[in-house]
């Protein structure tokens, strides 16, 4: 076990050696073959990734304490090829990974295919500069390892879907359209540009959570229960907020339009003109503005 006195990274600069030792002990990294110095280097990398340069010692320590240290050590040991770590990983997560894949795809064959492809990535079949790269290297302990695996599976699933989108038939698209973000036909250009400006101003004044609830419910077609689960609040809370926001948005847009010189009648017409013909365009519903590769940042996961 090596000491921590000469550690040059941000962790060593911001966190005292005794506290690093405590984090190391909590992580049980020694059980999977990491020295304290090696573990501190992993923390360095994570701190550098998420915290700005001027972060105070207390904040950095709190951040490190908030990490899933034991799972972080396990994942990094697996990435380093530690046999015992792999045994633990497979025992704990093998079944959960398949279950998560099944809950995402809702179908056994696709689930197994998805989980197997992730297994290959986790084990590290791809090589970069002659070295095996393992996806577990990207796990940073911000959430649980199980949650990270689920998120990675979900990313892979959505990426696959987007890649395959151009190859499937219209019937399949229509069928799959119910599962993905819905897109309405674009607003007619003949509409008064002040309507878009007023709407943008009103949306910008909403909180991020309010916009998220609006988008999840009205764009994605998610249920109140699903949104509540995402936000970790009660379904009734989401219902109340949604009702409040929908009412407020309409009123505020009207106010904005009046402020921008429209008469009351013009403002009402401008708002109502676009709700008369809600057409469902399957092709537009399936379209996505950003490329699928955007999920994986370069050099990251």
């Amino acid at each position: 076990m090596s000491g921590t006195a000469q550690m040059p990274g941000p962790v060593a600069r911001r966190i005292r050696a005794g506290e690093i030792a405590e984090l190391y002990q909590r992580s049980r990294a020694a059980d999977v073959g990491f020295s304290e110095q090696e573990f501190a280097r992993i923390l360095d990398e994570i701190v550098a990734k998420y915290l700005p340069a001027g972060t105070r010692e207390g904040d950095a320590l709190e951040f490190c304490r908030g990490l899933r240290l034991e799972e972080l050590a396990l994942a990094r040991a697996c990435a380093a090829g530690h046999e015992h770590a792999w045994e633990i990983f497979l025992t704990r997560h093998r079944e959960k990974l398949y279950d998560a894949a099944r809950s995402i795809t809702r179908e056994d064959v696709s689930a197994r295919e998805l989980a197997d492809s992730l297994y290959a990535d986790l084990y590290g079949t791809e090589t970069r500069d002659g070295r095996r790269t393992c996806k577990l290297t990207y796990y940073t302990g911000r959430g649980s390892l199980e949650g990270w695996l689920r998120a990675t599976l979900a990313q892979e699933y959505v990426n696959r879907y987007r890649r395959r989108r151009r190859e499937v038939s219209l019937e399949e698209k229509t069928e799959a359209g119910a599962q993905f973000a819905a897109a309405d036909p674009p607003v007619q250009p003949a509409l008064d540009p002040r309507l878009a400006q007023a709407t943008d101003a009103v949306l910008a004044a909403l909180t991020a959570e309010e916009r998220f609830i609006l988008a999840s419910y009205h764009l994605d077609g998610r249920t109140l229960a699903e949104i509540a689960r995402s936000l970790g609040v009660h379904e009734s809370t989401v219902s109340r907020k949604l009702e409040k926001v929908v009412g407020a948005v309409r009123t505020r847009i009207m106010d904005e339009l009046l402020r921008r010189g429209l008469s009351h009648r013009q403002a009402e017409e401008a708002l109502e003109a676009d709700v008369r013909d809600v057409r469902v365009n399957v092709s537009a519903r399936l379209s996505q503005k950003d490329s699928a590769s955007a999920f994986y940042r370069k050099g990251s996961d």
Partner: protein, 406 residues
């Protein structure tokens, strides 16, 4: 839910997306362990990016059967039965109140009529029993059951002022109406479980039966305003219920009342039993009310971190004051047990549906939890787990007396 104008959907969709959060941040978001500032940033991105919303939704932990069962226990807002609509709910309560008022009014009229024919009637309040020991035996008007027992043994004494039938009948009629009214009102008016209804009905029936055998009521009070009169009658009704216990204990504790002179002494000696019986009744009623409250209430935590409770299936919420300066982040209920936790790993517990709260000390091997409590799950009153924002999971299998850290 009201529809938003199409322009809103369009502008929502066309917002600039920016850099996507990685799987680590998305999973931390789904598990609700991000700090407020970072959570806001992620929410801001999610509100603009449909793909990330999709991934975040798929990343959210699956709803387990346990959680489904818990959700099923709580009445859902959208799936309320028609008979739980507010109008019927309050209508039933009003009807029950009316029945009680009519019963009390009928009882008053009966008593007024009786008091005219019986000017000197003793009360059986436990506080006054000792004072009544000085009342001469002939002036004591006994309940029907006791009169049967004492009629043989008081053969040498003067006969009672009224025949047994004349005192028993009016009491029986009034008691029957009150008991039935109370039981029916609670059963129909409240959103309680079937078992509670049975308990309530049993309680009401017992009270009704007791009142039928209850001693004659005290003399009518001095004329007061009608509303005050009603309140006084309600209090009297309660005292009559307690007297039900008094009568039962008296019947049990007095196998052979010997003589007229010793009769009041017997009543005095039965007072401790009477008190314990009354206390047991009171406890039973409290437990029943707590159980009813736990079944009909729903809990949540407000945006500002206050604990809140709803008695109408989530339509309106009322804040519940627990602790000082604590930002609550999680709450869980099992029956009448309520657990609430939040900032500074503070955990509070109430075993009686929030009537009383106690702060729970979580320690294991000299270690205390760190961070905030972000999740509480109890599968029974004894077994539960608490998760903190630092990723620690603390479990208990003895209702929070001892804890283990995982």
């Amino acid at each position: 839910m009201a529809e938003v104008p199409r322009i809103v959907r369009e502008r929502l969709r066309s917002q600039a997306v920016g850099e996507h959060p990685d799987a680590n941040v998305l999973s931390a978001f789904a598990e609700h362990v991000l700090k407020e500032q970072e959570r806001e940033q992620v929410l801001d991105h999610l509100s603009r990016c449909a793909d990330c919303r999709q991934i975040a939704a798929l990343t959210a932990p699956e709803v387990t059967e346990e959680r489904l069962a818990a959700a099923a226990r709580a009445p859902a807002v959208a799936k309320q039965s028609w008979w739980r609509s507010p109008i019927l709910h309050w209508g039933a309560l009003t009807a029950a109140a009316l029945v009680v008022l009519i019963a009390v009014g009928a009882r008053m009229r009966l008593r007024e009529g009786r008091s005219a024919s019986a000017p000197a009637i003793a009360t059986y309040s436990s506080n006054e029993v000792a004072q009544k020991s000085t009342i001469p035996a002939p002036e004591v008007s006994l309940p029907p059951v006791e009169q049967k027992q004492s009629s043989k043994k008081l053969a040498s004494g003067p006969p009672p002022r009224e025949p047994a039938g004349s005192t028993g009948k009016p009491g029986g009629v009034a008691g029957g109406i009150v008991g039935g009214g109370v039981a029916g009102g609670v059963g129909r008016g409240e959103t309680v479980g079937e078992s509670v209804r049975k308990d309530e009905a049993a309680f009401g029936t017992a009270a009704g039966a007791g009142v039928r055998n209850a001693p004659p009521p005290p003399p009518p009070p001095a004329p007061v305003a009608p509303q005050m009169k009603m309140q006084a009658k309600a209090a009297e009704l309660d005292s009559l219920r307690l007297n039900t216990g008094i009568e039962k204990s008296r019947q049990k504790a007095t196998p052979a009342p010997p003589a007229a002179a010793s009769e009041t002494v017997e009543v005095t000696s039965a007072a401790p039993g009477v008190k314990s019986e009354a206390a047991a009744l009171s406890q039973r009623r409290d437990a029943m009310l707590a159980k009813r409250a736990s079944l009909s209430s729903r809990w949540s935590v407000s945006d500002s971190g206050a604990l809140q409770r709803s008695f109408d299936g989530g339509r309106s919420w009322k804040e519940v004051a627990v602790g000082d300066g604590i930002t609550f982040r999680a709450v869980a209920t099992v029956g009448s047990d309520v657990w609430a936790g939040g900032s500074g790993a503070t955990l509070y517990h109430s075993a009686d549906s929030a009537e009383h709260w106690s702060r729970v000390s979580m320690q294991a091997n000299g270690r205390t939890p760190s961070g905030d409590i972000v999740r509480i799950e109890f599968s029974s009153a004894q077994d539960g787990a608490v998760t903190t924002s630092t990723g620690e999971t603390w479990t208990t299998s003895d209702g929070g007396a001892t804890w283990r850290c995982q």
